[in-house]
Every structure is written in C-alpha cells, then in structure tokens.
Symmetry: C2
Subunit: 112 residues, 2 copies
C-alpha cells in the first residue's frame, strides 16, 4: 500500500550547518525507499545552506521564494518553479535573497 | 556548473497512456543525472494516469490540485503538499478529482 502524508505531518529538523535552514525527510529509507530520498528544505529570509561539495548529486525543485545558487566560480538566481541540477562534487550553496521563506524539494541518492 | 531552468522552459509532451496527462522531463540523463530523473506531470480535470505497475518506485510531491491514488485494493485521496511513495511493483493510478489542473513532481530511478 502506498504511503501518502502531508509535508506538515513530517518532523521538521533544524540543520546545524548554514543559517536558518530546516529540513523534513519526506520519503527515505525508513519509508522503504530503495534508491533515493526526497526532502523538503525551508530557508528563512537571510538564511543559507552550507557552501560545500559531496560525491552525490542534488535534484531540486523550488516550491516558493527566490534565491541564489552560489558555485565555485559563479552565482545564479533562481525562483519558484525552477528545477536545479547540482552535479556530484560540485560546490554549491542555496541562499534565500527574498523576503519570504524559501522552500524547495531536494532529492539525493540513498548511499548505504 | 549547475543547471537551472524553469519548468515552463522544458518541452511538455503528451502522455499516450491514461487521459489528459502531460509530462515535462525536468532533470534526467541528457542533463547528466546519474541516478534518478525528476519529471513534472500535469493531469487535466477528469484525467488520469494509466493503472499499471512496474519494477521501479515513484516518489511524488503534489504541487497543486487534488486527486485520488487508486491501488489494487484501495483508493486514497491526496492534495497539495502531500508526499506519496509508491513502492516497486505496486499497482497505481493518479486521478484528478478536482476542478483545476493537478500538477506533481514524480521522481524515478534511471535504469540503463
């Protein structure tokens, strides 16, 4: 039987890196996901995720708000309705540059 | 360098199965995605995806609208903000039961 739950029903956790970032793990290993995990991030106005890189990719969809993606050599704006692909090992940081919360879906592979 | 593009910039294709279903492949193999693909589906009022099953899972996030997930033995309602996990081999069908377009993100593994 499929699992359906509203994102508001999922525990929201503070992310210790960056500033003003919270995460909800919507679908992941505990739910039986075999390959990839879907998370919902909220970044407060003025907040940002850590500037870092890792061996796995991000596939992101911007639900609300606007911001900037900071890379090693460039900074690119994004807004509601944008899809963002961050390649493995690519440095990246998501900054909220707007007046409202920035909310986005971010999918990563499950690595055992 | 990361890829950013609005979903409206992505070619929208008619899905031949089901009724009133269109899909945009936001991030997939052509964009360099190594593990999973992110698609955006639109289902018109009264429309539905095919009732079927396959060996791969779905991880879904409902962006707008409302509908019903039809399974082999049950039917469950869903609405905006819901996350849905359909397990591998599980029969499923997404029906739009509302008056507006139903739009959702659906992520699947890339199978070579």
């Amino acid at each position: 039987m499929a699992l359906i739950r509203n994102y508001k029903e999922v525990l929201e956790q503070k992310v210790n890196e960056g500033k003003g970032v919270r995460v909800r793990w919507l679908i992941s290993k505990p739910e039986g996901a075999p390959n990839f995990a879907m998370r919902l991030f909220t970044v407060e106005p003025g907040g940002y995720t850590p500037f870092h890189s890792h061996p796995w990719e991000h596939e992101v969809f911007i639900l609300n708000g606007e911001g900037e993606l900071v890379g090693e050599n460039d900074t690119m704006p994004f807004k509601e309705g944008d899809a963002i692909f961050v390649k493995p090992l690519e440095y990246h940081q998501f900054k909220n540059t707007g007046d409202d919360d920035l909310r986005f879906i971010c999918v990563i592979p499950i690595i055992d």
